[in-house]
């Protein structure tokens, strides 16, 4: 699946997008955050406060208990500040 990062999540991780293949036991958005955070210090920094992180699957907002199976694109970003 493709992951996309925005705003300070993108800056901390140091990339705008990537393709990942998480193991089968990573089933939810929250578990995916935990799996990514364990990769290295940059990911750990980006996801240091998991409750602040917002997520979207295929361009729609989701909660962290959402299942990731079948997702083409998952995005992680801080609370939005548009308008």
């Amino acid at each position: 699946m493709k992951l996309k990062y925005f705003a300070w999540v993108r800056e901390r991780i140091g990339k705008t997008e990537e393709i990942v293949e998480p193991p089968a036991e990573v089933r939810t958005v929250g578990q995916l955050i935990g799996w990514l955070a364990a990769r290295d210090d940059a990911y750990a920094h980006a996801f240091e406060k998991p409750t602040v992180i917002r997520a979207a699957i295929d361009h729609a907002h989701v909660k962290q208990d959402a299942a990731i199976s079948g997702a083409r694109e998952i995005a992680f970003f801080p609370p939005m500040t548009g308008g």
Binding site: F6, W8, A56, A60, F77, P78, M80, G82, G83
Partner: protein, 155 residues
């Protein structure tokens, strides 16, 4: 008759008067047009800023705004709806966002415009970064914006 909203996500500036006129010109069924313009302030929390840079999520920004536009069209009897949101670098005094609603009567136009702005603030995937003498920093989301959005949730 169902109307289609005009939604544009763009880097370029827009002409507020022209967008308002486009919703009422040549029509006799529109009795009220409400417009909200969001403009870049020259200071943030009392500190002068040089500019804002808006990052957005292409594709999702259009999808998310369309969803809220559809909800507004379902909840209020609107005869016209235009939403424009800019991205990129925006200097103080420049336009950031525009919502224009047209209806037979003012209440629907006022309420729909306010509903849309509250949702754009908290749900449209845009992020503001400010530039000032101290460098650049991401603007933090505000709790009162979440509270403003929550009041539109149907109980």
């Amino acid at each position: 008759m169902a109307i289609a909203a005009t939604i544009r996500i763009q880097e370029a500036d827009f002409d507020v008067a022209q967008e308002i006129a486009a919703l009422s010109k040549g029509r006799t069924d529109v009795g009220a047009v409400v417009s909200f313009s969001g403009i870049c302030r020259g200071s943030e929390q009392g500190e002068p800023i040089a500019a804002l840079t808006l990052e957005h999520y292409p594709g999702m920004a259009e999808a998310e705004i369309s969803r809220h536009a559809d909800e507004a069209l379902a909840r209020w009897p609107l005869q016209g709806l235009t939403i424009i949101h800019r991205f990129g670098r925006i200097a103080p005094g420049e336009n950031i966002v525009l919502v224009v609603t047209a209806s037979a009567h003012r209440q629907a136009a006022f309420e729909a415009a306010e509903f849309l702005m509250d949702y754009l603030k908290t749900n449209a995937p845009f992020w503001k970064r400010e530039e000032s003498a101290r460098g650049t920093s991401w603007i933090e989301a505000r709790d009162h914006d979440d509270a403003a959005t929550a009041r539109w949730t149907k109980s």
